[in-house]
Symmetry: C2
């Protein structure tokens, strides 16, 4: 059997990690394939790995087009530009592609699968979601005998690190973010992470596989963690909840709903204790029951290990359809607008004057929303005091009407923050 | 493409679950294969599923031998007898085998793989370990690009249920076991479960895959949960630990060590909050990092879903080597005896008389073992009082010498109970 010849484009953290795995003589990678070529922007830069055994390409598209490469590993990043052109080029000539590029797969997944199906090339992207955690394979293959009803995950390590640090150290969002940037855990422009967009890319991919639909990034409703304050974390804690950025896709009334948003989890929720930069996924499926996967969501080693597992699947002939089914069998994600029902957390910053609490209660009662818990804490200094409440189960549209009515009272010092309370949904405990 | 023809032997809980999946027209199983034959002991028994569409065999071996069956699903159970003969028969004629039989695979795995390699038949057993949790596939394929250094799991739902109930309800081992038997959670003869043997079968399989060695059940050191008392659970709790039956395989000094034994886990250990009948596995590997998998470890639905995922892998051409590698590449598990080092929990039931504590401390000091915590609680009634202690890190042989010296003091009302304190080993938290 001839060994597959691999070319890697992009020698950042993950790319270097994959080169190191090839350089490790004992790795299983070397039994089945060999690294023959690499590409990056700057040939002269010292990357701490010996690149002399491999052909150098300044242009990733030229590497992707080279007939001496059987598998093109795309680790450049970005939904468009060189990454997309290079992947298209490889697939068009029948070369397999392994990529860690979640934005590319989330935004152009169906288009790329169409290209790959024309030539019979495989497209694999375990490393695009969950770092070292095999979320893609679990959904494609292990849950294949079941039907998933929801996937919910902590898919962005930066946000989870920030929220965990805020809770543990009692520092503000801004202070923790600044520190995370200094330590390299967060980008100089943190919008993709803290705005929820990175998690939304990953959720798009997981939902497509779980529900057998085309990836549909435009349908994800996205709310970031920028407005979550230390007050929210503390008061949620007093009510028995922890705040996490949750990416969740669910089948509801035949439609696929996808949300990325900060949410309150009770401490017994399977995602509540996933701390720091860890990633995790909870899949609800029948008849397999609830499954939870936890591990390191980013970094050189974990992500390189996921790239390697895709390469070994290719070499051993196990690589299947990119999203678990042929493109023709992936449904358009039905864009229904089922009425979300649930429990909610509402935080208000109000002027402390008589009648405010009564007025807020009245606006909720008007929408027939029952309050489950109510917390007002004394504040020293500042014109506004925080009031937080959680509701019993109600319809989201009515909750939003109530929030607008409360805003119209003209007592709010800043816009209210509304977050869902996630129920654990779990057969968690005895079987 | 002709559809694979499947025969199922054994129509207990799991067998019925698989028949139901085939009967569900929307299941992906039916796209690629069809159920053609079934076998069980009693043809007349009502099993709540319509068996009339399938050929009936009184003899599972005859079903396994029948040329109209491409895939033989063995759900009879038992390491020997009809299950073994039937699986051998199917493999010998080149029919693939899917089984949930952990005892068979643990005790005769290498022998069966040899048979399967002769004819090219595949042997798959995802359902043998962890119920609905894809532990086998995760180790075989997802961790393939990494090197595992340890696997540690909660692999027996009955033991985990009993320990969880003892802690939550404050009842004795015997009381909870009796209730579990009445509810069908535990067998009339519970030895296989509470004695740790079932977990040892599963650990044998996982260790073989994780470390690339032949399955070696005889090398597992096994201690059950029968001697864990409510006193242990309560006093361990006061010291900050929870008691779980842990099945652990680890590479140490080039040898594979396998233990099944009750152990103390601190509350932040990834397995500490896996409660009730759930199963879980923690894999430490490089460079993927620590991975945790949690889900339902038994029952009709989860186990049938794992059988189904194996069947779909077969139908889609993804089924690989039984243990991840060809038999010739599986090493004999090196049976070194590395000196285990760790922290230990020791519970003594002693006669309450002056000088006992000093004598115990002295015997530990003689082996240069430092005490980390010491707890003696007042007891109302009974001639013996419990004393528990945890040690700092020490060598197990010296700990055992100390225990024997303490026993020789002739103050112990019953044999001491020694359990390891598992460290979380985790890059658990920030990356």
């Amino acid at each position: 059997m001839t060994r597959l010849r691999v070319g890697i484009a992009g020698l950042g953290t993950v790319g270097r990690g994959v080169v190191k795995l090839f350089a490790d003589g004992a790795s299983r990678l070397n039994e089945k394939m060999q690294l023959v070529a690499v590409s990056a922007r700057n040939a002269g830069q010292d990357r701490g790995v010996d690149l002399t055994p491999y052909r150098w390409f300044d242009d990733p598209v030229a590497l992707a087009a080279d007939p001496s490469v059987d598998v093109f590993v795309e680790l450049i990043g970005g939904a468009d530009g060189a990454a997309k052109v290079a992947v298209e080029t490889a697939l068009a000539r029948g070369a397999h592609v392994v990529t860690a590029n979640k934005a590319l797969v989330a935004l152009h997944g169906a288009h790329l699968v169409e290209r790959s199906e024309r030539t019979g090339a495989k497209l694999l992207f375990e490393a695009a979601v969950g770092g070292g955690v095999p979320m893609v394979k679990a959904l494609k293959e292990s849950v294949a005998g079941s039907r998933a009803s929801s996937v919910a995950g902590i898919l962005n390590g930066t946000c989870n690190y920030i929220l965990t640090e805020m809770e543990n150290s009692g520092r503000s969002f801004e202070a923790v973010l600044t520190e995370a940037q200094a330590m390299g855990y967060a980008e100089a422009d943190p919008t993709t992470d803290v705005g929820g967009f990175d998690a939304a890319h990953k959720l798009t991919i997981l939902s497509a596989i779980a529900f057998g639909t085309r990836p549909d990034y435009g349908h994800v409703q996205i709310q970031g963690i920028e407005r979550v304050t230390l007050t929210d974390i503390r008061l949620a804690g007093k009510l028995g909840y922890r705040i996490k950025l949750i990416a969740k896709g669910a089948l509801a009334d035949g439609a696929v709903e996808m949300h990325v948003r900060p949410a309150l989890l009770s401490y017994d929720h399977p995602l509540a204790n996933v701390s720091g930069s860890l990633n995790a996924l909870v899949v609800d499926a029948e008849p397999s029951g609830q499954l939870t996967f936890i591990g390191r969501g980013a970094g050189e080693g974990p992500t390189a290990a996921s790239v390697a597992s895709d390469l070994i699947d290719l070499a051993e002939g196990r690589a299947g359809f990119a999203f678990g089914k042929p493109l023709a069998q992936l449904a358009e994600a039905p864009r229904g607008s089922p009425t979300e029902r649930g429990r909610y957390y509402l935080r208000l910053m109000v002027q402390d004057r008589p009648g405010v609490v009564a007025a807020i209660s009245d606006r909720l009662a008007h929408e027939e929303i029952s309050i489950e818990s109510f917390l007002q804490m004394p504040v020293h200094g500042g014109p506004a005091v925080p009031i937080v409440l959680t509701t019993q189960t109600c319809a989201r549209p009515r909750m939003e009407l109530a929030v607008r009515a409360i805003e119209a009272l003209d007592v709010c010092a800043e816009p209210p923050l509304l977050m869902p309370v996630e129920h654990s949904g779990a057969r968690w405990g005895r079987s």
